[in-house]
Each structure stands twice: as structure tokens, then as C-alpha cells.
């Protein structure tokens, strides 16, 4: 208990003096008392990534399948907002020409023209959203996931300006009443915070693959560790031609599209 007091005292001291480095060091020490150990069945990776086989997606789904989107949005309590200005989306589709703006041309192959491509947070290697966040509410985890701490977000929306992929949504109003059905096992968000896909960090911790991957009946979405040479994602990347969105910006997106 005395440690708790010391900790809150240090916090307050940090606020007054902005004594940065010392404070974070002390906090780490204070947290040691909890002796947290990693959960045993969790999926552990060094650099999580996703490869989306768009051909499989279209062939089986005929461009109308929404299994992955619905599964994700239901499980994560993503509200269904009709007004496009206030839409909240974690995973959704956009036509090819808009997803790969720099590839837009008059004579695109017919098989690809206007085809829906799945888009979600790219969990970049060098995420500009995390760089600009003034409170570390968005941060990069060691396993590569760009995570959000909704408890800490102040809703300044700097991350939305910084993200070149339009992957972030803001809660312009209270999302609770707009949920068709509440999933009690996952928190909702509250009014005034930004949100986005979390690569199902909560499922990985429980040893399960991301829900969109599991929900896809065609196996078009593949999830794995890029640092593991034998992972399924690496196998596909070795054998197929893949694309990433806006690689020239240097953010290092970790969602690959196999066409």
C-alpha cells in the first residue's frame, strides 16, 4: 500500500515538473509488484501481418460476401451508422481504384476493375498515428500491433490526420444506442474517442486467430508472423505477387494483397 502512495505521488510530481525519464522508470519499478506472467496459450509473434487473397475473396463471395466484416463489427461492438460522415469502421471494402490510388489507370484488367478490396488498419512498422499521438493512447506493441488505449485517448484526432489509409474512425456521438446487438464480452467505445482495428489482440491473447480470418469461409485472409520464415504468410509472400497500400510513404504497412 505504501508503494501505491509512492506511485501516485510520483505521478503528481511528474505533472508538476514534467520530469519525464525518471518518472517512467519509477513506474516500471512500481508495477513489478504485480508479477504478471504472459498467458500460456496465447499466440505470440514478433511482427503480425495479414495477407488477403483477393481472388479467393471474389470467387467465392462474388463480391457480395460480408462475413468477415459482420463478424468483426458484431464482436467488437462497432456501431452501424448510416451517415457516412460519422461512420465507424474497422474493416470494410473500397473499390480497387480507390484502394490503390497510384495504380489507377484507364485500362485496368477487367478482372480487377472496380472490384472491392478489403481495407483495415495496416498495423504499420513505422506508424505515423502513434508518432503524433500526444498521450501515447495509440502505441506500437512489441508484436507489431498498433494498439489503442481508449481509456487514455483525448479525442484530438491528430492520428486521423496522420493516417494515410483512412483507417481511423471517430465517435462523433455516443455509439451505444447505435449498436444493433451488444456483445457483452467486448467493451464498446464512448463518445469522443478515436477507434480502429486491433488485429484482434484480445483473441491472440486467448490463442485464437483474428475473427475476420476465422470468419472467412474461403480462407482468403491469412494471418501470421512475418519474422517466422515458415509461417503461412511468409509462404504466400514467397510464391505470390503481392501489393501494399502506399508503400512509398515509408510507413511499412503489414497488410498485403495477393491478386
Amino acid at each position: 500500500m505504501s508503494k501505491m502512495d509512492r506511485r501516485s505521488f510520483l505521478r503528481f510530481g511528474g505533472l508538476c515538473v514534467l520530469g519525464l525519464g525518471v518518472l517512467s522508470g519509477a513506474e516500471v519499478l512500481a508495477e513489478k509488484q504485480l508479477k504478471a506472467a504472459p498467458a500460456s496459450p496465447a499466440l505470440v509473434g514478433k511482427k503480425w501481418a495479414m495477407v488477403i487473397d483477393m481472388k479467393k475473396c471474389w470467387e467465392a463471395g462474388k463480391g457480395e460476401c460480408r462475413d468477415c466484416i459482420l463478424a468483426c463489427h458484431r464482436a467488437h461492438n462497432v456501431p452501424d451508422i448510416a451517415n457516412p460522415k460519422e461512420e465507424v469502421k474497422w474493416i470494410w471494402t473500397e473499390p480497387y481504384e480507390e484502394v490503390f490510388l497510384d495504380q489507377k489507370q484507364e485500362y485496368t484488367a477487367e478482372g480487377i476493375q472496380g472490384k472491392p478490396f478489403l481495407v483495415l488498419c495496416n498495423h504499420c512498422d513505422n506508424p505515423p498515428c502513434a508518432r503524433v499521438c500526444p498521450t501515447k493512447a495509440t502505441f506500437k506493441r512489441e508484436d507489431g500491433i498498433v494498439m489503442m488505449d481508449y481509456h487514455r485517448c483525448i479525442g484530438c484526432r491528430f492520428c486521423m490526420a496522420a493516417c494515410p489509409f483512412g483507417a481511423r474512425s471517430f465517435n462523433f456521438r455516443d455509439p451505444r444506442p447505435l449498436l444493433p446487438k451488444l456483445n457483452p464480452d467486448f467493451p464498446t467505445r464512448e463518445m469522443g474517442v478515436v477507434e480502429k482495428c486491433n488485429f484482434c489482440a484480445e483473441r491472440l491473447e486467448a490463442g485464437a486467430l483474428p475473427l475476420c480470418v476465422e470468419a472467412c469461409r474461403q480462407g482468403a485472409l491469412v494471418f501470421g508472423d512475418l519474422e517466422d520464415g515458415n509461417s503461412e504468410v511468409r509462404t504466400i509472400l514467397r510464391s505470390r505477387f503481392t501489393m501494399r497500400r502506399r508503400p512509398e510513404l515509408g510507413t511499412g504497412p503489414n497488410v498485403y494483397y495477393a491478386i
Binding site: 484502394v99 490510388l101 498521450t135 487514455r152 490526420a161 483512412g166 462523433f172
Partner: protein
């Protein structure tokens, strides 16, 4: 000295009451925003910053422009500015307060504002902006107040004020540079991703800030016995002229790079602002108003006769302020989001509640400015 703000005529008090009324209307709508969320504004998933952040950006410029009276006086001994530095500093004080208020009303979770200090994040430009703005506010209050108090007692200011003044000069440049970095360091926002941003911000700040100061000083001249002096006004007018020329030159540079290179990403935002994009063009009238006002102001300023004549100078200064407000306080921020990450145009115009909240903050700034200027003018009248 503050007691001087409590002694004023009927006109003074009715002006304050008017401002208080505007503030309470703004506050009323802010409560609505707290209750219902930012849905009451015109902002969207695509244009996620709007009027509030644009006002913030514009007012950081007004605040930084105090350096345009402080620097000539303290570093180049321009005596004409001796009487008016205080008005520049107090203008900076009220502008910085408005800036901070605009940041707060823009937050989705204002109650968590202190998270910025509880979890200090040096890699975030917004964190640095809050730090430099708070520091600048403190510097200008301390310097302004002490210099004025010394003037009242007819002594020279305490020795420790001088170093603070010297610090405040680069500090003023820093606040607007850091504010420009908020924009110019974001990948994928081509309109903002230009090294020219900070320079452009400073140039337009040094035009519109002193232009506002000229207008304010001329108002003070008619309302009180204090005369800033013709020389001071004319010196300021020259500063406005140079800064306006440079400012428009910079805008021209952006146009050249975009349209000579023909890189679509660089052309889109400018095209949207001045000609419309994919059939969308709600900001076109505002941007052409900017162009005409700016050119009109430039003609009046470059011509020595119209610059030296008070009546035309007033018009020129009003045009400078209005045009740069349109360019920076509206177009620059909004157009950075257009087109969005998918090449689509989602338009933005502020809503009525949003405008009323912004007006409430402007009224708050005006109230603070009025009170501070009242104190300063009373001291000047007393000393003279």
C-alpha cells in the same frame, strides 16, 4: 493596476456586456457539444479537423506577430515602437488564450486534457505546441505586466525582464514553427507536406498580426487620449506590406510546384479550393474572396500614398486580416483533408453551433484584450 479595468464609461461597459453575452451563447452551445458530441459540428470521418483547429492555427500566428513590435524595439532600438510594444504583447496574451480554448473545444474528451501532461510524449508535435504556447503566454504576461508597471512608476523595468524579452523573440518564432510542424510532417497529406509550411505561416502571421494591431491602435486613438504616433503606425504598415508580399509570394510558390510538376496529389487540394474537384467546390467563393482581398490590400499597401493615408490604410489592413483569415483560418486546414485517403471528396462547412462556439471564444479573447488594453491605455494616459 487591474483596478483600472473597473473604471470605464458607459460605452466600455456595454461593449463588455455584449462580449459576455456572446461568450454565454458560445458556452451554451459548448454544453450542447459536451452532451451530444462533435456530431453538432460539420466535421466528419474524412475532414476530421475544421473551424476550431483552423482558428487555433490562425491565432497562433496573431500571437507570434507580437515579435514584430518587440524585435525592432529591443534589438534595433526603433524608438517609435516604445509606446506600443505593450499592445503587441497583450494581443499575444489574448490570442494564446484563444488558441488554447480552441484546442480544448476541439477535443472529443476534454476532461482528459491533462493526459497530455500526465503522459508526456515528446514525439508528438501537439505536445510541444501546448508546451511552447503555455510558455509564450507566461512570458508575455510577465513581460507586459512588469514593463507597464515600471512605466506607471516612471522607473525602468527590473533587470530580469530584459533577458525574458530576448527569450520571447525566438520563442515567438517557435510557436508558429511548431504549429506548422503539426501539418507539415504528416505522410499522405500532400497539401500540407511542404517544407515551406513554417515559413508560410510566419510570413502570413507577420502580415495579419500587425495589420490587426494597426486597426486596434487606431481604434484606441479615437477612443482615448493615447496616441500611438504616426511613425509607429507607418512602421507597422511597412512591416505588413513586406510580410504580405512575402506571404503571397509563398502561396505562388505552392501553385508553381503543384501545377508545373503536374503531380496530381499536389494539385488536388489547390484545385479543390479555387476551382472545385469532382464537382465539389463549397470553398471556391471564400478562396476567390481571399485572392481579391489580398491583391486589393497589396495595391493599397504598395502604393505609398494610400499606405500613408490613414483611411486607406485602415481598408488595407482590414483586407489583409480578412484575406489571410480565409486562407489560413479556413482553407488551409480543410483542404488538407481533401481528397481523402481514397481519393474521394468529402466536403466541410462549419455548422451554426460550431460557428457560435468559435464566436464565443473570439469574444472571450476580445474581452481579455479589452481589459488588458484598458489597463495599458489608462496607465499611458496617467503617465502622459
Amino acid at each position: 493596476m487591474l483596478e483600472k479595468a473597473l473604471m470605464g464609461g458607459k460605452r466600455y461597459w456595454s461593449w463588455l456586456i455584449l462580449l459576455l453575452a456572446m461568450m454565454s451563447v458560445g458556452f451554451r452551445f459548448y454544453l450542447l457539444q459536451l452532451n451530444q458530441g462533435l456530431t453538432i459540428t460539420g466535421m466528419s470521418r474524412d475532414v476530421s479537423w475544421g473551424l476550431y483547429i483552423a482558428q487555433f492555427t490562425f491565432l497562433v500566428g496573431v500571437a507570434a506577430s507580437a515579435v514584430m513590435v518587440v524585435l525592432p524595439y529591443y534589438l534595433h532600438n526603433v524608438k517609435a515602437f516604445g509606446q506600443i510594444t505593450i499592445f503587441g504583447e497583450f494581443l499575444a496574451v489574448s490570442s494564446v488564450i484563444m488558441c488554447l480554448l480552441f484546442v480544448i473545444v476541439d477535443l472529443g474528451k476534454p476532461m482528459r486534457l491533462l493526459n497530455m501532461l500526465l503522459y508526456p510524449t515528446p514525439n508528438s508535435i501537439l505536445f510541444w505546441d501546448v508546451i511552447v504556447l503555455s510558455g509564450y503566454l507566461l512570458l508575455n504576461i510577465v513581460i507586459g505586466w512588469n514593463v507597464l508597471e515600471a512605466e506607471r512608476k516612471a522607473v525602468s523595468p527590473p533587470d530580469w525582464v530584459k533577458p525574458l524579452v530576448y527569450v520571447s523573440i525566438p520563442w515567438a518564432v517557435s510557436i508558429h514553427t511548431v504549429t506548422a510542424f503539426i501539418y507539415s510532417g504528416l505522410p499522405g497529406r500532400d497539401y500540407w507536406l511542404t517544407a515551406l509550411m513554417a515559413a508560410r505561416f510566419l510570413a502570413s502571421a507577420f502580415a495579419c498580426g500587425p495589420a490587426l494591431l494597426i486597426l486596434l491602435l487606431l481604434i484606441i486613438k479615437t477612443l482615448s487620449k493615447f496616441d500611438p504616433g504616426r511613425e509607429a503606425i507607418q512602421k507597422l504598415a511597412q512591416i505588413v506590406t513586406y510580410a504580405m508580399v512575402i506571404s503571397l509570394f509563398f502561396v505562388g510558390l505552392e501553385f508553381f510546384t503543384a501545377f508545373y510538376s503536374q503531380v496530381p496529389g499536389h494539385m488536388h487540394s489547390l484545385a479543390y479550393l479555387f476551382a472545385g474537384l469532382d464537382g465539389h467546390g463549397k470553398l471556391i467563393p471564400f478562396m476567390w474572396a481571399f485572392a481579391f482581398l489580398a491583391i486589393g490590400a497589396l495595391i493599397l499597401l504598395l502604393n505609398p500614398r494610400t499606405r500613408q493615408q490613414e483611411s486607406t490604410l485602415k481598408v488595407a489592413c482590414g483586407a489583409v486580416f480578412a484575406s489571410l483569415w480565409l486562407e489560413k483560418g479556413l482553407g488551409l486546414v480543410v483542404a488538407g483533408f481533401i481528397p481523402n485517403a481514397f481519393g474521394e471528396v468529402a466536403e466541410y462547412l462549419p455548422t451554426a453551433p460550431e460557428i457560435l462556439i468559435a464566436l464565443g471564444i473570439w469574444a472571450t479573447g476580445a474581452l481579455i484584450l479589452t481589459v488588458l488594453y484598458k489597463v495599458a491605455v489608462s496607465v499611458k494616459e496617467e503617465v502622459a
